[in-house]
């Protein structure tokens, strides 16, 4: 027997620590009768198993095919090693031999075992909203420092009872080293607060909250990464009340459905949608709307749905909360979500009728993630809870890189030991809370990964007025690199696919980015490669942007810039009926007061939306473009407008002519979308041919437009034979910028 004994060393990388990986390996090895050890090291988990060759093979495939549900394995490496004669299997203490690239796990939803206990009246954690085990529960949202041990979490103030302690210390128990483990005897609880007074606690608090929701009240609910404002999605009066109190006029609300069956009634789900809904990240999934819920998501044909992801959510539905619930970030307007109790009670006073407050503090704000399905694959719109922080891809970078992202939808990326770790959505900088989260993330990450500032490369946007740019100049580092916004967009796509050396055509269509020449770019073509440099190869004909950001809030103001110099009829007259604001903006353009030269695609969409009837200010970002897409979705096929050499003038003249002749707005919108897609396809094809590559990397916020992507697929892929790459792992909007900055900096981080 000993002579037939073989051994394997297996190294697992990814999110494998703090997710119950070692106990799972321990159970798996024992079940195959193998000996050896498993240990956390600074790069992940190392396993040494020895025994019969066949069993070793079976163990390795079981590990690969059925890893613990919460783990996110990036790579598994295995190599044969000499057997050492172990007799049993053991979990070894951690080693610390390399610079750490240990990944902090994102927060996890309750596992099936824990859910079972939650429902079991005989279990001591029956209906206890803070139950978890080593395979589930909160992580990033409760960590106050590394290493991830209980004293370094927001559970530090609740000493374990002897029961919980025994489970925590038993390697064979599901709660072995489950840092936040607790039970009703020793752990934190929940309270229901109404009119500033505690009204109930424990299961009674949850029951009262469910009843209030049933009665149409708005309840602020403390979740994993912050507070939600909840109300019954089927109670139109409640929904409208919430909108009014939150100053959120039209932006769609996300829903939480009790279970998958309920979600199926709300949205048209295919398999990728379903698996995203059930993903451990439990994101908000955007899917075609099926149910009509007045006030929830008007003006769009899609709806955002998520499933319960904290034991409390499950308990609320069990206690009779209406299904589905509107679950929207607790804040007024678009500021970051509230996560501290005192702040929430103060800021949400007058919005929420009652508060369901849990005692466990949240260490850092983590917003809900938002995903959609693109080409059958899950695609990020907002990458946050459950996904971040996490490794997105590898980059060749011997030096650590810190990429600070853009000011809006900020998110940072850290590259350490060649792994690009992308952080959660932090919101728009310039807001105090977002700035704090930004600075805290940077401080935490540099400390956690023990980064020496003398080696650090800091990448930031080239915009001179961004807060992140100013911040970049204040961080001590080896060198600093300003990256042009749209090159970063394009590079983010190629970082995901690992095609940094390949010659490509890059396409970036979005609202605003600071260009090489000081103009405001946004409809850009590049050629070259990320490693060798992306040269600007074509762009939209430049227009004037009167009033800068003011034009982004009022489509007719953008129109004044794009229509200057065209012979246009009086747009105050029907069918256009432009408001006075247009005349004022025209004056600015004529006198070049506060005007910026721009090639923005976003403002071109706004202009056409204005011409098609969207003449009021927007009430949330991207609203006019979303409205225009919705108009187009209602139309039959129609020929693209002329858009020769990316000159928008003939295009806009056609729109105006068609509008005056009474053509259907949907058809006009569709012909416009087709013109954009056609021009992108033609320009990209021309550049691709010159470059001898079929590869086109496409990014920028405008490509959140599904119709545009569909049309591109037809014009660029089917007609032109181009290979298109879009973002999936990071958003195509500015949430992906930091990854792109890191990819461009990685070429420079070598020396």
């Amino acid at each position: 027997m000993p002579d037939r004994r073989e051994a394997l060393r297996i190294e697992v990388r990814g999110v494998v620590q703090g997710v119950g990986f070692r106990p799972a390996v321990d159970r798996l090895a024992r079940s195959f009768g193998l000996a050896g050890w498993v240990s956390n090291d600074s790069r992940g988990v190392s396993i040494h198993v020895e025994g019969d060759a066949g069993r070793l093979e079976a163990f390795a495939s079981a590990l690969r095919d059925h890893p613990p549900p919460s783990a996110r394995i990036v790579e598994i490496e295995r190599r044969p090693v000499p057997a050492e004669g172990f007799e049993t299997f053991e979990i070894r203490a951690s080693t610390h031999d390399h610079p750490p690239v240990v990944l902090i796990s994102p927060d996890l939803p309750p596992c099936p075992d824990c859910l079972e206990e939650l429902e079991d009246p005989r279990d001591r954690r029956h209906r206890y909203p803070y139950l978890n085990c080593s395979a589930c529960g909160p992580r990033y949202s409760i960590i106050t420092a590394l290493p991830y041990d209980r004293p370094n979490t927001t559970m530090a103030d609740w000493p374990m009872c002897e029961h919980c302690r025994a489970e925590y210390e038993d390697p064979s128990d599901r709660r072995y080293h489950a840092q936040p483990t607790a039970c009703p005897r020793c752990g934190p609880g929940y309270r229901l607060i109404r009119d500033g007074v505690d009204r109930a606690s424990g299961p009674e608090a949850v029951a009262r909250a469910a009843a209030l929701l049933q009665e149409g009240e708005v309840v602020a609910i403390k979740g994993v990464g912050g507070y939600h404002l909840a109300c019954s999605a089927r109670d139109e009066a409640a929904v409208r009340r919430l909108r009014e109190r939150k100053y959120r006029k039209e932006k769609p609300f996300a829903l939480m459905a009790r279970d998958l069956a309920s979600a199926e009634r709300l949205a048209l789900l295919d398999d990728p949608h379903r698996s995203l809904l059930l993903d451990p990240a439990r994101p908000i999934v955007l899917a075609p709307a099926r149910a009509s819920l007045p006030g929830v998501a008007e003006g769009t044909d899609r709806i955002g749905v998520m499933l319960p992801y904290a034991p409390l959510h499950t308990l609320l539905f069990r206690a009779g909360a209406p299904d589905p619930l509107v679950m929207t970030s607790a804040n007024r307007s678009s500021e970051p979500i509230s996560y501290r109790d005192d702040d929430a009670l103060r800021r949400l006073d007058g919005i929420a009728d009652a508060f369901l407050v849990g005692d466990r503090p949240i260490a850092r704000r983590v917003e809900d993630s938002v995903v959609e399905v693109l080409g059958g694959r899950g695609t990020m719109i907002r990458r946050s809870r459950g996904f971040a922080p996490g490794v997105v891809c590898r980059l060749r970078a011997p030096r650590p890189i810190l990429a600070l992202g853009a000011d809006l939808k900020n998110c940072i990326t850290l590259v350490v030991s060649g792994q690009a770790i992308v952080g959660p959505h932090l919101g728009d900088l310039g807001d105090r809370e977002a700035d704090l989260a930004f600075e805290q993330s940077i401080r935490d990450w540099l400390a956690m990964y023990e980064i020496d500032p003398a080696a650090l490369v800091v990448a930031h946007d080239a915009h001179p007025g961004y807060s992140s740019t100013r911040f970049a100049t204040e961080i001590p580092c080896h060198r600093r690199l300003a990256v042009q916004h749209h090159r970063a967009h394009v590079a983010s796509v190629l970082a995901e696919t690992g095609e940094l050396d390949r010659p490509v055509v890059g396409v970036a269509l979005d609202g605003t980015g600071f260009g090489d020449d000081g103009a405001i770019w946004g409809f850009e073509f590049f050629e070259g490669s990320v490693a060798g440099g992306l040269r600007r190869a074509a762009h939209l004909r430049a227009a004037s942007l009167p009033g800068g950001d003011a034009a982004a809030r009022f489509p007719v103001q953008a129109a004044a810039g794009f229509l200057a110099g065209l012979s246009v009829p009086d747009l105050h007259e029907p069918p256009f009926s432009f408001p006075e604001r247009y005349t004022q903006a025209q004056l600015l353009v004529a006198r070049q007061v506060r005007c910026f030269p721009t090639t923005s695609a976003g403002r071109l969409f706004d202009t056409v939306a204005a011409l098609c009837g969207f003449t009021r200010p927007i009430s949330y970002e991207g609203q006019a473009a979303i409205w225009l897409e919705q108009q187009a979705l209602g139309a039959r096929s129609c020929a693209p407008y002329p858009f020769p050499g990316l000159d928008y003038r003939p295009l806009l003249e056609s729109v105006i002519r068609d509008r005056r002749s009474g053509r259907d707005v949907g058809e006009i919108a569709l012909a416009f979308h087709a013109a954009i897609a056609r021009a992108v396809a033609d320009t990209a094809a021309e550049l691709a041919q010159r470059l001898g590559t079929p590869l086109v990397a496409i990014s920028g916020g405008v490509f959140q437009n599904r119709l545009l992507r569909l049309l591109l697929d037809s014009y660029a892929v089917q007609e032109r034979g181009l290979i298109l790459r879009f973002n999936h792992a990071v958003p195509t909007n500015d949430g992906g910028i930091s990854l792109g900055q890191a990819a461009i900096a990685s070429g420079l981080a070598v020396g």
Partner: protein, 330 residues
């Protein structure tokens, strides 16, 4: 043109043209230096060069600005103006009437501010080397007794007083530059503020800790400087900041924050918390001070920052702004 070359021609220009235009404000002697007998006490002295374009704008002109800017700088030191000297740099080819009009405006403004003009100079530069007319003024003032001002006197908990609605001057100039006439009601706020400052200082000299006129860079720059110098936070209550409707509307159109826009007739005062309401009432009782408001508070942290609490319960960072704000919405 030999008028600025010195010697006799220059003397003729000064005696024959300039002095009469300045009117009663002229108290000079045409000697090389003015000699003043101003008695005991501390003096304040300041100088400023004015390069505004256009030279005339709704509510004011460069000549008037040159007086108000300098006497206001004296006022910010707690000093009433005692004497002023002015120098003009005239671009060759500038219409004589233009120069005359500005001299008259300068004289009238000095009269309104109650400050004698005691000396001056003119130079002419080649065509193309100046924007028509530059004016530089130097002012001398006497500091009111008992006044001690400076960032080091500012304490946590102190309140920020603002003398009136902001942004009028900067918006007026910006629009006048492009000859854009949006609102009949938009005009520069240029005025001397000493008549407003003096009663405050007399009311309670010890309670006023710091004064600043929020000119270029606006309230945001002035308060950022204070926050940095003092290592404290200035927390503004956005809803309390007075902004006139036409200015608010223009800022909305132009993509500007009123806090970043220049003023020429307002001042900020940091005052002791206990005296704030009384000083506000006093200020409001003075003609021209009706629009005053308490707009913020000095706080311990975040150190060196200016914040504005929004009506929605959020808090935004009020940055120091260099140059025009560029669009950033993506």
């Amino acid at each position: 043109m030999a008028d600025g070359a010195g010697g006799k021609a220059s003397r003729r220009l000064v005696e024959g043209t300039i002095v009469p235009l300045l009117g009663d404000a002229w108290k000079g002697t045409l000697a090389d230096s003015a000699v003043l007998d101003i008695g005991p006490g501390r003096l304040a002295m300041t100088t400023d060069a004015f390069v505004v374009r256009p030279l005339r704008f709704p509510g004011g002109s460069i000549g008037e600005l040159a007086v108000n800017g300098t006497v206001n700088d004296l006022a910010m030191a707690g000093a009433g103006p005692v004497a002023l000297v002015a120098a003009l740099v005239i671009e060759e080819g500038t219409a004589v009437e233009t120069v005359e009009a500005e001299l008259r405006a300068l004289g009238e403004a000095a009269g309104r501010a109650g400050v004698p003009v005691v000396g001056g100079d003119t130079k002419v530069v080649e065509h193309g080397k100046g924007d028509g007319l530059y004016v530089s003024t130097t002012g001398l003032g006497r500091v009111l007794e008992g006044v001690a001002l400076g960032p080091d006197r500012v304490r946590e908990g102190d309140r920020v007083l603002l003398s009136g609605p902001i942004g009028d001057h900067g918006i007026t100039i910006l629009l006048a530059r492009g000859e854009v006439d949006l609102e009949a009601d938009l005009r520069s706020d240029s005025r001397p503020v000493w008549p407003l400052v003096r009663p405050l200082l007399e009311e309670d000299p010890g309670a006023v800790r710091w004064l600043r006129d929020p000119t270029r860079g606006g309230v945001a720059s002035a308060l950022n400087e204070l926050a940095r110098d003092r290592g404290l936070a200035v927390v503004l209550e956005e809803a309390a900041i007075p902004v006139r409707e036409p200015v608010r509307g223009a800022c909305e159109l132009l993509g500007l924050d009123p806090l970043h826009v220049a003023n020429e007739g307002q001042f900020l005062a940091v005052v002791a918390p206990g005296a704030a309401d009384r000083l506000l009432d006093r200020l409001r009782s003075i003609p021209g001070g009706e629009g005053a408001a308490i707009v913020g508070t000095l706080r311990e942290g975040p150190a060196r920052a200016v914040l504005a609490e929004t009506p929605y319960g959020g808090t935004r960072i009020v940055d120091l702004l260099e140059g025009d704000p560029l669009p950033r919405i993506c």
